[in-house]
Symmetry: C2
């Protein structure tokens, strides 16, 4: 067991060296900007968001309890699940707090800029298959997924509505980018909820409980909620909102006058992005960018825009994405007390000349 | 005359090399961040905002017409005025568009970040003295000050209400930081309107006209107005609003854990700043900073705050100033179509460790 942990710990140290640290304990770090320019984010550069210290669990021995409103509660051996077959999907994960530092007034919480974001190919077994083995009882409402992180009073645990839990793309993931999960990313097994902000993708899964009553835990009711602070009803944070990112020209770079290729990413939770537009300088003059691949749900799409006739001096670039439901990124996202879901149009200041 | 212009042109080239260029023609450039950390901004680092090409006027021969609703219209020889005595004042000048790139939606206009700002000691003759020589007629309402820049159809010209024009601190300035004005800063003579945004301090003054009817020129009625775009009345841009700047730690720097000294500037147009507060990380926990000098109107005051126990990782710092009238910087300034007067609380992301 010692021997099995060693390579993992080593790859983890390597991983951390490429991240932009936000907090050391618990470890929270962003994907560096250059890694966000690639279609797939390499694991050593993939952001890490943890609410507590990272548990150390062994793939060989770790077991997950499956219980609650099921006919056949059982204990799942993760090592058996890891033998496959595994289903693989490219999925974009974004922390709900990504972009918090651009919200005004500045909310409390981890000071994420724009790097709590990444896209990997995830491989795992549909959660639905495991639930089917346990056979749901009538009245099943949601599936509580509990991690091994946090102490007993504040375990990281999240309940997923039954329909989303049974979606074939909702995985108990064992691999990321073709290799076993690293400890920081939830080894040996995490939930992966495509299209939802990262908090739903519980790491270090240790217990599944099918519930007939809504779960009221801390990370369900006190955090990951939109509290507008204006007396409006509080809503849970779920689906990633439509958003885009400008990856090139990079922040603070100088580009030659004339033709400048602007590039970036766009995504919208469970929906397909259908349009990305770019505006050069301020005002309301938006022009269509080109999508560089066929958009699919739950993963970002790359886009490019050719800016002709860039003149020497300082300019601003903005990008905005629209999804198949017709939702467009706002220039300013609605403020909320905990600073979630900031999907505002990105503004990039560029020096030409 | 050739000989007289040469040194000026040469010092100007030197000046431009230290500025952060926003536009080459007409020349617009920001004060570099490091220069904003000094109580007085060196002339070669002092921001330049011009709406048209810079006129080339000779101190030896330039004359200013004084006319309109006056008993004794006359022609002012600038060289005579320059012989003194001159009145000297430290005055902070901020472009009305400073901070425009942080407004959302991003307005059109020069993409100023936070460097269209500087403080110099200005020396000149009170405008009131010149007006007294001409003797105002009854019914005088405002004083139109015209620059030599812009073509005949769109000359840069601004009218100042009589009370402000007659204020003893409103100067026809001939020197900046103890030396004759440079061409970029309005040589040989500019208006200096302490406490008002920079557009009021007309450069390259060529004509003064005492008016009995409101001036309706382009730079008075079409620009430098607050147009909220919501049907509210359009208001002229006048007084600089209460604002602060964090100068240290500088953007993108890493500081050692423990005790971190946070420093900056604060100003509020014609009013004194009475309080600066700092918040570490998000939320609403503001603590008093120390003002490092006795606040005076029209010039910024330096402040410092000691942040104890800074832990490794990323943190955010905010500063907010309050003036003697009780006005406090907002976390977000009201949007307006042309992007003026952004006095929002500054947010500085700092890496500790």
């Amino acid at each position: 067991m010692e021997g099995e942990q060693l390579p993992e710990a080593s790859s983890q140290a390597d991983e951390r060296s490429r991240l932009v640290v936000v907090k050391h304990e618990p470890f929270n770090a962003e994907t560096p900007p250059e890694a966000l320019a690639a279609a797939r984010t390499p694991t050593p550069s993939f952001f890490v968001r943890s609410n507590s210290a990272e548990p150390e669990l062994s793939l060989a021995t770790h077991r997950v309890t499956v219980e609650g409103a099921v006919e056949h509660p059982f204990t799942l051996k993760v090592a058996e699940l890891a033998r496959g077959p595994l289903r693989s999907l490219p999925v974009t994960l974004e922390c709900a707090g990504n972009g918090r530092t651009s919200m005004t007034p500045l909310p409390e919480g981890e000071p994420w800029q724009q790097g709590a974001l990444g896209t990997a190919v995830w491989s795992g077994v549909p959660l639905a298959e495991v639930l089917q083995r346990a056979r749901l009882k009538p009245g099943a409402l949601e599936v509580l997924v509990e991690g091994a992180d946090g102490d007993a009073s504040k375990r990281f645990a999240r309940a997923l509505p039954l329909a989303k839990a049974l979606h074939p793309d909702t995985l108990l993931a064992l691999e990321m980018n073709g290799a076993p999960l690293t400890r920081a990313h939830g080894a040996p097994m995490r939930l992966l909820v495509p299209g939802w902000y990262g908090m739903a993708s519980v790491k270090w899964v240790t217990r599944l409980e099918v519930r007939t009553q809504p779960f009221e835990g801390y990370y369900q009711r006190e955090r990951y909620i939109y509290d507008r602070g204006d007396g409006q009803a509080i809503e849970p944070v779920t689906r990633m909102q439509v958003k885009s990112l400008i990856t090139s020209p990079a922040e603070g770079t100088r580009v030659a006058p004339g033709r400048v290729v602007v590039q970036g990413m766009a995504w919208s939770g469970e929906r397909r992005v259908v349009r990305v537009e770019v505006a050069v300088d301020g005002g309301d003059h938006w022009r269509a960018a080109t999508l560089l691949e066929t958009p699919r749900p739950s993963a970002w799409v790359r886009w490019a825009f050719t800016w002709e006739g860039a003149k020497a001096g300082r300019h601003t670039l903005r990008a905005r994405a629209t999804d198949e439901a017709g939702e467009t990124q706002p220039e300013r996202a609605p403020w909320n007390r905990l600073g979630y879901g900031n999907n505002a149009v990105p503004v990039r200041v560029v020096e030409v000349g």
